[in-house]
Amino acid sequence: MALKGNLRDFSVLQIFNLVNLARKTGTLTLEGPNVAAWVSFREGKLIHAQLGNEDGTLLGVLAKAGKIGPQQTKIIKQNAADKTDKELGLLLINAGYLNQQDILASLQHYVLDVVYRLFSWLDGFFRFDSDVLPPDDNITIRLDLENVIMEGSRRMKQYEHLVEEIPNLDMALNFVERPGANIRNVHLNTMEWKVVSYINPKNTLRQIAKANKMNEMEIRGIVYGLLEAGLVEFVRPEGMPLPPQARSFKPVEEKERSKLVNRLIDRIRSL
């Protein structure tokens, strides 16, 4: 019988702990609000992860990691579409494109990236099916869960702090207009520049994250840095509607007020 429950009661981190301690073999299915994920373990070691429809094939992972270029990807897709991941891996090694270490490192990076994203899922359902594993033709890795749990735990703390600082991604940012706050004088990395290039009152943080294919933690991390540096500030997104009721309140006339309040009192009492 599968172990199942709600992530509100049992966090992803706690499930990983359980799998690690019990040295379990099987696949954990997580159903988040919009997407599902699958994480597989063998004897308590992390071996595979897949998030929704993301391309988790070897070709997709290697392309994402920049190990093969777009042209190579296209050629491989044309000529080796019927190959399994294991066959493709062997083909790439034999052809001298990559070595085994490159392939395993890329897969490891991909799996960890998926898993660390899952740690921030606070709502949804989980199910652990013992002895269910990915198909044999998938290349699996073997990672100790202790390190994953420790890193996940650290990231969760960081994530909680960021959520506290930036609870809402539906706000926009604008550059601060004050002497000395010039973004051009600041050393930013590529991802930060990508975010900066989208900053204007028209774009919400959620939209900027989507445009840059960033997850919530990544966008929060970058924006938090910019806020702390005093370079940007939150603004209400242009065109963002307030509920019509928020602004259209006429002040209640004094002579009506008493009656009106009495009606409100009666209503609240009856709730």
Binding site: M171, L227, A246, R267
Partner: protein, 178 residues
């Protein structure tokens, strides 16, 4: 149809959403709409960052409850929300003394926006380490005349009590002006 509003404010995670949820007849919502101007580079749905609940009084009167975004960073929303409000409630998490100062700051800001009646709800009174209401009054440096009420925002009766006290304050003020 006449509409009136009250604002529920307070620091982040002080229980504003729960408070509104407990008495609202609709799901506490943030309204959404599509951004459609061509000038926008990223097009997607955007969401208003506020909680919003409703209590229908009768065919002619509706009370709206607005929860403010809790963080100082979003204070540009506060003034908009405070326009035309009948009164406001300041929620304080009784178990998190590190937020008391911020709560006091929010209270003062709202007082500056509109000199309407208000009450302070000492929320999460069911928490083990919750401060007692009178201790909280001292910590917040609140005058004895200001209504400070124990509250558990997840309990409807408790929320009703806070709303009623605010309405009584509004009534008293109205009577004084007569």
């Amino acid at each position: 149809m006449q509409t009136v509003k009250m604002v529920v404010t307070g620091p982040f995670n002080s229980g504003k959403t729960e408070f509104i949820k407990s008495v609202s007849e609709i799901d506490v919502v943030s309204t959404e709409r599509k951004i459609s101007t061509e000038a926008e580079r990223v097009k997607e749905t955007t969401t208003v960052a506020m909680d919003f609940g409703r209590i229908t009084v009768d065919d002619e009167l509706v009370l709206y409850l607005f929860g403010t975004p809790g963080q100082k960073r979003f204070d540009f929303m506060w003034e908009i929300l405070s326009e035309g409000m009948l009164g406001f409630i300041v929620m304080v998490d009784s178990a998190r003394p590190e937020t008391f100062r911020e709560a006091r700051g929010i209270l003062q800001t709202f007082r500056a926006y509109a000199p309407t009646p208000y009450v302070v709800a000492a929320n999460k009174q069911d928490a083990e380490d919750a401060w007692e209401v009178e201790d909280l009054r001292i910590a917040l440096k609140l005058d004895g005349k200001i209504k400070m009420l124990p509250c558990t925002a997840t309990k409807k009766d408790s929320v009703k009590e806070v709303l009623l006290e605010l309405l009584y304050s509004i009534q008293e003020e109205t009577d004084l002006k007569k």
